[in-house]
Symmetry: C2
Subunit: 256 residues, 2 copies
């Protein structure tokens, strides 16, 4: 067996502020070139959700939002030291299928099925006041579209993961996870395989796309303008399974 090359995490610099309608694949290729990175076959490009949302105009002007009574009540019940804007709560409710917990943080199930705080509605890293960003409507479709455009532009098969930072029960801190993907297997099923002593590995399904997103996060400090990281030399079987397959079906979820 030849020794595999070390996996590398390559941040792509020189990505300008993304605006609605921007041709993101073309911008990414130009930024990679400026960063002296040439795409290679089977590279995995991890993109922070925010630039996808901006390019897809998933932005809401809060001055156009009239909060419902429910949003006003939920905002009034939020902690006084960081009282929520009822208009933001209204946007969160519109992005949600169901509220999972409403105090002290608003944890919801989004229309995609993600369980997360505030439905991914976010005010950070947006240049204008009174604007919030939403998650992409269909992050898997966005990943596929970008991967296909990159293939045309670079003649290379490049997998794409769209990532966001989500909180977790039981453990503090956010970690980067995959909300959309194209090209990499979201889950790696090791159940058919054996451990090094020949015993079958039970219940060992690894959330590979989430681990790839977490790895990219190490090269993607939030405060810097590096919303894209290339992962090189990770060996995988190409897959078109969407990242939504990582969402635990509600009937198998003991904690919602």
């Amino acid at each position: 067996m030849s020794k595999p090359r070390p996996i590398q995490l390559l941040p792509i610099f020189h990505i300008p502020e993304i605006r609605p309608g921007d041709d993101l694949p073309r911008i990414l290729v130009a930024a990679a070139k400026k960063s002296k990175i040439a795409f290679r076959q089977n590279d995995i490009l991890v993109l922070a959700q925010k630039i996808i949302s901006k390019s897809e105009n998933r932005l809401i002007d809060l001055t156009t939002i009239t909060p419902s009574q429910r949003a006003i009540d939920l905002a009034a019940a939020s902690d006084t030291d960081r009282r929520k804007d009822p208009r933001v709560v209204e946007v969160i409710l519109r992005q949600s299928r169901r509220i999972v917990r409403d105090h002290p943080v608003l944890i919801v199930e989004t229309h995609h099925g993600f369980v997360c705080a505030n439905a991914g509605v976010d005010q950070s890293n947006i240049p204008r006041e009174n604007i919030v960003s939403l998650l992409p409507q269909n992050p898997d479709a966005s990943a596929k579209k970008i991967a296909q455009a990159l293939r045309k532009l670079t003649r290379k098969k490049i997998a794409v993961i769209i990532s966001d930072t989500f909180g977790r029960p039981w453990r503090l801190g956010l970690t980067n996870i995959a909300i959309g993907s194209y090209g990499v297997p979201p889950l790696r099923d090791l159940r058919g395989t054996h451990d090094q002593h020949g015993k079958p590995l039970h219940a060992t399904i690894i959330a590979t796309a989430d681990e790839l997103a977490s790895a990219a996060s190490l090269a993607m400090p939030k405060s810097a303008a590096t919303p894209a990281v290339l992962i090189r030399n990770f060996i995988y079987q190409p897959s078109t399974a969407p990242a939504t397959t990582i969402i635990r079906p509600p009937n198998l979820d003991l904690f919602r």
Copy 2:
């Protein structure tokens, strides 16, 4: 600002089967040398929990275990297609402070405070029959001890993370997380910082040690004998905070 070097994930090969009492730091240094890896200042070494548990003799011979009535009842209630061994359940109960869910999987709070399936009691990757491994008694202390020994052996300051694969509510698949650490900050608090538009970043605490563990997992396929991965060129502020600080305090946990 000078361009940072890409983060690299370097698997350490040539690690032999670890036995109780083995001098793990010395074995790791020898294996790294055989893998043609020279440790550098501020490298982060991620070690799979199993080799720590083996070296610390955290192994239980099931033939010495008499299950309690509670263990017998819990085993009898487990799924028929993968009925649990009452002796294994007994070991799990002894490692646990509290059962969080008992069906269809046994999710417990360990004496350390980790919430996980089966208290980390595991039968895979152990060469002998009827032996199960437990989590290290104090993974942070284990990480510190290994880091200090590596410092003496290599004259380099090397951070250590002890990792294990845990499941999660809401999302399928396991991801690698940090159950012990020494030298790296378990959590990175970005709340004092600002986003690229100068707006303060709210509620942005990143579980860096967990993300490092997940990254290492990409170079650590379970079925191969690569329980150690070196992470190079990740920039961090040295920290002696233990990985147990990532455990969400029960009074702040909405889901246990």
